[in-house]
């Protein structure tokens, strides 16, 4: 009887463990497969792949700098727009909002995470792009002559992409910042208030206490932004150039994969695209795990009622 129970318990452990192993194998497999499929490009170009700006599939010249540039530029700009807004939302929802409004408002802001990327893209093409274009045309002459505001008046450009990205990452960053603020001990705020702090000063104390987690939350949003494909592909203009102008049509790493992967007939072209994917994989991996570590450091132990995985919250909430 006892033996039978032991055997079945062992079966449970090994059986479910086997499925858990599948998950680990997938992650390792992604890294390995991408490395294997990128070898031609890695061997031919080496590190120069990332510093060269010439991308010409016809002549077999592949330099990925414009894509890195476009990805980083649009994501950082998105971060600058979305970061403050996300923190503001989190502060409002966790510190200022009347109890009754909290759940519905949180739900509505998190709806932004539920809307599919392709719908953002569609909205981007038909609503945002014309709006950005007319905004550009309405700028005074002295502004458009600056390098920052240069670019053809087409509407598909870095700025459009950054706006779409910013909208898309706000819900991620804000819901995790909220989680972080929730795990700041009440005593911190009470202490500040007892010393005569105004509401904002008490909030500042809480923000200061949770700063590492908030940085993590914003980084997590950044990691998301790097990998957004469809919405960006549809509004960035898909032109491989690295320029400072906000109105310059540009290109991102994810977008070039989406556009050229199916048409890549040459092995080298395919491998070059996979190498871009490999770097995207490694970079998002590092950013994600780093930011989760920061968030986890703040939220563990301090909030016994919080879920064991605060970082998984936005999915559950969307």
């Amino acid at each position: 009887m006892k033996l039978k129970a032991n055997v079945s318990d062992l079966t449970l452990r090994l059986g479910s463990g086997a499925f858990a192993l599948v998950l680990v194998l997938i992650v390792v497999g992604i890294g390995w497969v991408l490395w294997d499929e990128a070898r031609l490009s890695v061997a031919k170009f080496g590190f120069a792949f990332w510093s060269r700006s010439h991308w010409d599939p016809v002549s077999g010249e592949f330099g990925a700098f414009p894509f890195i540039w476009g990805t980083l530029y649009s994501s950082i700009l998105a971060l600058l727009i979305a970061g403050p807004v996300a923190v503001g939302i989190a502060v409002f929802l966790s510190e200022l909002c009347p109890e009754k409004l909290r759940a519905p408002l949180a739900f509505i802001t998190e709806l932004l995470a539920a809307i599919p990327s392709i719908v953002y893209g569609l909205w981007g093409i038909f609503v945002l792009v014309p709006a950005v274009r007319s905004f550009q045309l309405s700028l005074p002459e002295w502004m458009t002559s600056l390098a920052l505001f240069s670019g053809p008046p087409v509407g598909v450009n870095l700025l459009s992409a950054s706006i779409v990205l910013a909208i898309m990452i706000v819900p991620y960053s804000s819901s995790i910042t909220r989680e972080v603020l929730r795990s700041v001990p009440v005593a911190q705020r009470e202490g500040a208030c007892a010393l005569g702090a105004t509401k904002w000063e008490a909030i500042k104390v809480a923000l200061h206490y949770g700063r590492a987690g908030i940085v993590g939350a914003i980084m997590l949003g950044f990691g998301r932004a790097l990998g957004v494909t469809m919405a960006v592909t549809m509004v960035i203009g898909n032109n491989p150039q690295a320029k400072w102008g906000l109105f310059e049509p540009s290109y991102t790493m994810a977008a070039v994969i989406a556009n050229e992967f199916r048409e890549a007939v040459e092995d080298l072209h395919l491998h070059a695209l996979v190498e871009i994917g490999l770097v995207l994989f490694v970079v998002t991996l590092i950013i994600n795990l780093g930011s989760r570590l920061l968030i986890w450091n703040i939220t563990r132990d301090r909030s016994p009622k919080a879920s064991p995985t605060p970082a998984a919250q936005p999915e559950a909430a969307s």
Binding site: V85, V119, T229
Partner: protein, 284 residues
């Protein structure tokens, strides 16, 4: 002194005001996007959209029946791949948490959750399209399944750990084996929540486009063969949106409306279910 205090109070009002304003700022795009999708979509949607096949280029009319079927097929295949793996690995992590392997698995799930969907597309292309030299619904389903696994694993783990320890102890005290306890007590207690998690994961992958571009590809015809390329709402919307035809744009909006309604309904159901579950657990 009073001047200093006044300044502090003003700062406080301004800053809290800015925080309130940021919520308004986030509500603007939600409202804008939803109104656009609903108004444009509602004007373009009709019965033919659900029942008819795409017309050749140049002819107006037709629908996306094949793409709707395709999206459902792909999501169904994804669920077949992901539900057993996700639930059982979640079970492992919840039941044997604290072991080294459990933390590795959790780490892998976090990592996989953050991998851009386009990268998963490349991965599945390399393992399920290249060897057979054939885009297929199976490959598309696999790509979506890979995205679904960590989501399901996470909810399963969370919900299994929410099951009161007393239930488990009760079963064990009655002499049930660990396996029996898991399958007759713990899993049933968490089942509604796990189903909710699966619905949410479903809603998220139904809107994915990037991993399908080079796995399930696209297909303008009715297809039920999972070894052949298959259309999907998202890829179809993409194709139509970037094409220069007015009527295709109209259909893209209609498709977006269907997609948004699908995704939001799932989210809302899951949301309401979660709230009820939480109340049940608090009451228990």
């Amino acid at each position: 002194m009073t001047f200093h205090n006044a300044r502090r109070r003003v700062t406080s009002v301004v800053m809290t005001g800015l925080c309130t304003f940021s919520v308004v700022l986030a509500l603007i795009p939600v409202v804008m996007i939803l109104t656009f999708v609903i108004s444009k979509g509602a004007g373009s949607i009709n019965w033919a959209f659900f029942t008819e096949m795409p017309k050749p280029v140049g002819e107006t009319g037709g629908g996306m029946a094949n793409a709707i079927l395709g999206t459902l097929t792909l999501c169904g295949l994804a669920a077949i791949f992901a539900v057993p793996t996700g639930v059982l690995s979640g079970l492992y992590v919840a039941e044997y948490h604290g072991t080294r392997f459990a933390s590795i698995v959790r780490f892998a799930a976090d990592a996989l959750n953050g991998v851009p969907s386009i990268v998963i597309g490349i991965f599945v292309y390399a393992i399920a399209v290249l060897p057979f030299k054939q885009f297929s619904a199976l490959a598309g389903g696999l790509a979506l399944g890979v995205m679904m696994i960590p989501m399901i694993m996470r909810t399963t783990e969370e919900l299994l750990r929410l099951v009161p320890v007393s239930l488990k102890e009760g079963a064990l005290a009655l002499g049930a084996s660990h396996t029996r306890t898991v399958f007759t007590v713990i899993l049933p207690a968490a089942l509604p929540g796990i189903l909710t998690g699966i619905i949410l994961a479903f809603a998220r992958i139904a809107g994915e486009t990037a991993p399908l571009l080079f796995t399930s590809f696209n297909n303008r015809f009715w297809s039920t063969d999972v070894t052949q390329p298959i259309g999907s709402l998202t890829v179809q919307i993409y194709t139509y949106a970037i094409a220069p035809y007015e009527d295709w744009h109209r259909q893209a909006w209609a498709g977006a409306l269907v997609l948004v309604v699908l995704v939001l309904t799932c989210s809302l159901i899951a949301r309401l279910a979660t709230r009820r579950l939480k109340r049940m657990h608090v009451g228990a």
